[in-house]
Each structure stands twice: as structure tokens, then as C-alpha cells.
Assembly symmetry: C2
């Protein structure tokens, strides 16, 4: 069953030759027929791109009409001209669809330090407005329009019934292991035809991102452009507001879509051979668990060990040990690929060859670390570190 | 001029077949004729090895007589038996040289999770005690006895005149890019025949390590065994205490020896093609500068860019941006290999091919980032990230 747009949304993706190759789409547009509640979560990087500055000022909002996104040029480190260009993109869309400039949000991804080719982009916006449609093909084109080093478009949806209304949450994103100058930029758009209040939408998105896009790491870089936007237009329920239980179900659906998309980014790590899931249990609180999981995920030693199918528990434990979280080493337990390697603070005998073969034969590797300090847990996803990954990253030239 | 031991010190390095290859030395011993003031700085990793536990309890001290070190087995994650074995090593040395057990310090490096082969080690300690000598060859043997993946022994000295006394500071260390299970362990021993008070020695060592071993990063891992020990036996000045100026000169000499050794570790990064020096200037305080420098040094994206001779200023700036230190992006200035790439918050035109060729042709690459917030600066050293490095790390099997 193809993934569809929620009610009241249209989408388009076109090529406006930013990337040079006319077969590659490089501009995406999403329009909602009725003004939508909008929330945004953005990069924490101090060096942030012009579209991030614009969107930060315009979200949360109760009257967003469109999101325009381009790939190929990130509009980052571009000074005042960059801000003017980002605003101009939203202005062009607003004029075409009969909205105000500040009802349009903007995303960019691609080369840093280059100015947007505005003549091409304005032509692209006009073409996208003319092509807007409600089909799953239109959604797919929009997803493709945001791609840079992605090898596949990433789309996910959840359909649910909330107080008698058939509701849809549809998301798409771009992001893959960083190759070239795009800094592993992650752009995500989540659309729903449920109705949400402004603070509710912002909170739900923050929570969803905390459990999804914030729990993945390909190389530990936070890009200048990272953004996730949520639009809720209420088209499936004529703006009726939902009760507590229905709201909770909706928020979980938004989170599930974000988790799907985040894992799809990890799976699309170019030059990688394994996706690694790291679950840390038995912590005092979620922050501790996330900190340990993130430290393991960012360790090049752990990542190269998995690439080499090496059940090297020492590297995993050592990373946990320098995470800055205090725990009792004598209570530590570690499983790799379902096999117990370390228990009660000491290594246990295991068949290293068998574990290695099991890692080598699987795309997904699970690390489960329990530290015995409490009940909190967290999960993190990353990729292995292969020679191919380094080759791709080293051979790219600015 | 060969590097010599300071007065009153003897050293030896022997093979006791821990590593299997009898040509590889794997046990080192340093003995001081007279009890020495001793200071220690140890790993911050929560998972720390047995010898670290023992030495932490025995330093600072005013009566250390010897340091015994083995390579091949790290005696980490070895529980109670590991502590017993580490203590036993110090006991054997103490008996042989006529000292008390707690006057001996112990270091180990190598495989994690394996028990020390105590029969071999006790034989090795006996052999080392019989071989102790004062020559530069004896010093070199001791340095070799600590090596694991190091391709060269690392030794440095400073000779200085303090209030009419000829004083020597001699240091040696092991450490290289982590290959295998040794977790990039860094062991360092600094010896001086100057006299120092106990708190003075500890402070001087902490400061020296802060500006040297704490400013290098090969893969961001803090090992379970990292230790730096300082012995000051006063043999060159019959325990006379020094005035303020002479003390300062001595402390700078200790720091200089540590810096030499730290840089030697970076230069010995197996599978690397570039040493990278990162200088961050214009910060509010040294901590901020170190934090930015460390974040850049630990970025796989920066490290692969240098491996590929790519003047990718975007990756460097982005790493600075997510370091957590607040600065004004519009005042940032970046030089790579002496060439200005970014100034006043914007990229400047440069000949990318020429910069790339310059990086490719040099072993050392300098990154200088100025952030315009104050006068504090810090320097950090790391290596590039090459396919060869990943291959070595992935192919190693526990």
C-alpha cells in the first residue's frame, strides 16, 4: 500500500538544475489547503544556516501554509545575502499560493558557504507550484527533492482512528552518512490531518525528536541545517480538539514515524556494513542512559570493531566508562548480538568465533548494556565505521 | 647525544615471554637508589585497571623506590585476582631491592580481561632486577619493555641548571593509535634528580599532563590503564629545596618533556598519514579553548578531510559550533596550513587545489581557529583518519 499524504495537503518535487543533473530533483514543496499549526526543532549548532534562522522566528505558529525545501546548496555561512535569499524563497511561494510570507517555512541542504542560485530556485518554485498534487507519487517526488547523498527516499506513515476520525501521520526526511560538505544534514517534515493546539504540537515534536533523530549518530556531527518541522492542519476532523487518550495515541504515532525515519537514515549510511542498535538499561535516569548510549555510538573503536565483526567487549565497556556517568563497574552486564559477553563486572567465557560469524552475517547488531543503577533505559542507533566510509569521506573534495 | 637517566636512577627492560615473541621486551623496571617523591595522574575512566587502583592508593608519596611495568596484558577487568596480581608484582620488586611493597608502583598495558601470567612475570622481575643499569641503553630497554603497538620507543629529556646544580628531567612513554585491545593506553614515566616537595610534584605533574597528554586525541578513548608517574629523587642536589624561580624552570622542563612525549604518541599513530595541530585562540578562558579544540580533534569528518587533503573549512567550523562553547560566529577566523580560509564569519576566496596540494605534501597540518571572544588559547594534537587506520582496527580480533 503506497504511503499517502494526509487530507488537505499537496506536494511536489521538481528539478531546477541546482545539482546540475536534470534527473535529480532538488526542490520540494508542501502546501496545506488550510492554515496549519506548525512546530519546529532545529540544530543546536551555533553556526546555523539562514533557513534555520527564518523558521526559528516563524515557529511555533497556528497559520503555516507551506514548506519549501531545496537540496544542493545549504545556504549556510552565507551572511546577510543568505537571509535575504531564504526569505525570498518563502516570498515566492507565498505569492504563488496566496499566503503571507511568514506563513511559509524554508529548508535547505547541500554545500556550505555557497550562495543559492536564486534564478534557478525561483523558476523551480514556480514549476513546483504548478505541479502540486495529492498522490503518493507527488509525496515521493517531494521526498526526492530533499535528497543529497541519500540512496533511497525515506517516507513513513501511521494511520489511526481517533474518536471516530480516520487520521494520518505522514513523514519524510533526508539524511545519510555524511559524504561531502552537507554535514550529515537531517531534514524532516511530518504532516498530519489531526488537529493539534500550538503548544501541544511543539511538545509532541520535541518529545518525538528526542526519541528518534536525537538518538542516532553516524559521525557525531550536528549539522548547520538540521531541522524537523511538524504541520497539523486538522482536515480530518474539522478542527475538533481531541481528548487526552486520543492525543496520547496521536503523539505516539508522530514519535513512531520519527523513529522509522531516524532508523532509515542510519540504514542509509553510505559505505557502512552494519546498523548498530545500542540499548542501555539500569540507569538512574534517561539522561544517564542516553549519555552512555551516545558515547558508545560515537566511539570509532566500537564502530571499527563491529565493522570487523569483533566481539570486543572491552571497547564497549571502556566507552561506557568514560561517558561521564557514574555507575558500579561490578554490576555491569553486556550482551552483543544476543550473546552474554560480560556479567557482574567480569568477562564470561564465550565462543568468539561464533559471535564474530554471527555479527559478520547480519546487517543489524544489537548491543545491550545494563549497569545496575536503576530502571531507566535509552536506545541509540548508529553505523559501523568501515574503510569504505573513510574512503568516501576522504576522497570528497570541496 | 643519547638520552640519559637522571642521577640515582637505574633501569632495565627484559622479555619474559608475555607477548610470545622473545625478541619483544615486555617488562620494564625503574629503581631509584634513594626514596623519591612520587606523583601520579591516572585515567578518568570508571572502568580502571588493577595497577591504577594500587598506584592511586600509593601516590602522592615521599618514599617510592621503584616502578615496574609490563606490556602484553593490561590486568584490566580482572576483579580481585587482578588486584592480588598487581600487588604481587610490587611485592616481588620490593623484596629484590630491599624496599617495602608500598614503595613500589606498577603499570600494565595490553589485552583487557586476561589474567597476568604471574609465573612469567615473576621470572621477568627477577631478570630485570639482575640487569638494572644506569646507561642510556638500559633506559632504552625500559622504554621498549612498555611498548605495545608503538613502532618506536618514545624518550625525551631536558637538562637544566638550577641554583648551581646540573639537573635532568628524563621521560619515556608508550602509546600509539589504538590497534587491538590495548585501548590506546598511554603510560608515562618522568624521572628527575631535582628535589621536589610532595604537593609540588603532584601539582607540577597535573599541570604538565593538562598541557600535554590531555591535549592529544587519536580516537577519543580514555583507556582503562592510562597513567603518568613522576619520581623526583633529589640526587642532583642532596635534597636541597629550590627557590621559586628554579622551581618554575623545573616545572616547565617537566611540562616540556611531557609535551615531547605526547606529540611522539600522535606521530606514532599507526595507519595515519598526517599529524594535526589544532590551535584555538580568542576564547574567554582556557577551558573553552580546550573544549573547542578537542571537539575539532575528535571529529571523524575533520580527520577524514585532512586524510583526503581537503581544505574543508565547513567541517571544522561546524565542529566548533557544536562544541557547546558559545562564541560569535561573525568574528570567526580560520587558517589551515597557514592559509586563510574564513574570516569575519564568511569564507574567503582561496586556491583550493594549492591548499590541497600543500596538505597532501606535509606530514604536519596546522589548524588555527580564532573566535574573537577574549585572549585565552589552547592547543590540541591529533591524527587524520585513514582507511588504513580503520582496516587495522577492524581486522584486529579479540
Amino acid at each position: 500500500m503506497p504511503i499517502e499524504l494526509p487530507l488537505g495537503f499537496q506536494a511536489a518535487g521538481v528539478s531546477c538544475h541546482i545539482k546540475g543533473d536534470p534527473k535529480k530533483l532538488d526542490l520540494a514543496l508542501v502546501v496545506t489547503d488550510r492554515p496549519a499549526v506548525a512546530a519546529g526543532v532545529y540544530t543546536q549548532n551555533l553556526i546555523c544556516a539562514a533557513p534555520v534562522v527564518i523558521d526559528r522566528a516563524r515557529t511555533p505558529s497556528d497559520s503555516i501554509r507551506a514548506i519549501v525545501a531545496n537540496s544542493g546548496v545549504a545556504n549556510a555561512c552565507t551572511g546577510t545575502q543568505g537571509l535575504t535569499d531564504a526569505r525570498r524563497m518563502t516570498h515566492c511561494v507565498a505569492e504563488a499560493i496566496g499566503a503571507k510570507e511568514d506563513q511559509v517555512l524554508v529548508l535547505s541542504t547541500g554545500v556550505i558557504g555557497a550562495m543559492l542560485p536564486m534564478v534557478k530556485i525561483e523558476a523551480g518554485i514556480a514549476a513546483a507550484c504548478a505541479k502540486l498534487g495529492r498522490s503518493s507519487a507527488d509525496l515521493l517526488s517531494a521526498a526526492r527533492g530533499m535528497m543529497t547523498t541519500d540512496t533511497v527516499p525515506k517516507i513513513s506513515e501511521r494511520r489511526l482512528e481517533l474518536e471516530g476520525h480516520a487520521v494520518r501521520v505522514t513523514g519524510f526526511c533526508k539524511g545519510a552518512a555524511m559524504i561531502g560538505p552537507n554535514m550529515a544534514t537531517m531534514l524532516g517534515i511530518v504532516l498530519t490531518d489531526a488537529s493539534m493546539a500550538v503548544p501541544e504540537a511543539q511538545l509532541a515534536l520535541v518529545e518525538a525528536v528526542d526519541h528518534s533523530f536525537h538518538c542516532i549518530s553516524v559521525e557525531g556531527h550536528t549539522s548547520t541545517n538540521d531541522s524537523v518541522l511538524l504541520l497539523a492542519n486538522g482536515a480530518a476532523m474539522a478542527d475538533r480538539s481531541l481528548g487526552y487518550t486520543a492525543k496520547s495515541k496521536l503523539h505516539l504515532a508522530i514519535r513512531a514515524v520519527c523513529e522509522d525515519l531516524a532508523r532509515a537514515i542510519v540504514d542509509d549510511g553510505e559505505g557502512t556494513t552494519h546498523s548498530i542498535s545500542i540499548e542501555v538499561r539500569g540507569c538512574r535516569n534517561t539522561e544517564d542512559a542516553q549519555r552512555i548510549a551516545r558515547t558508545i555510538a560515537n566511539s570509532p573503536l566500537v564502530k571499527t570493531a563491529i565493522a570487523g565483526a569483533d566481539p570486543n567487549w572491552g571497547r564497549i565497556l571502556s566507552a561506557a566508562g568514560y561517558s561521564g556517568v557514574s555507575f558500579e563497574p561490578h554490576q555491569v552486564r553486556l550482551e552483543l548480538g544476543g550473546i552474554l559477553l560480560y556479567d557482574e563486572g567480569a568477562p564470561v567465557p564465550f565462543d568468539a568465533a561464533a559471535v564474530s560469524q554471527s555479527i559478520a552475517s547480519q546487517r543489524n547488531v544489537d548491543i545491550v548494556l545494563t549497569v545496575g543503577m536503576g530502571d531507566a533505559a535509552a536506545q541509540f542507533w548508529t553505523t559501523d565505521l568501515t574503510t569504505e566510509y573513510v574512503r568516501l569521506n576522504a576522497e570528497y573534495h570541496t
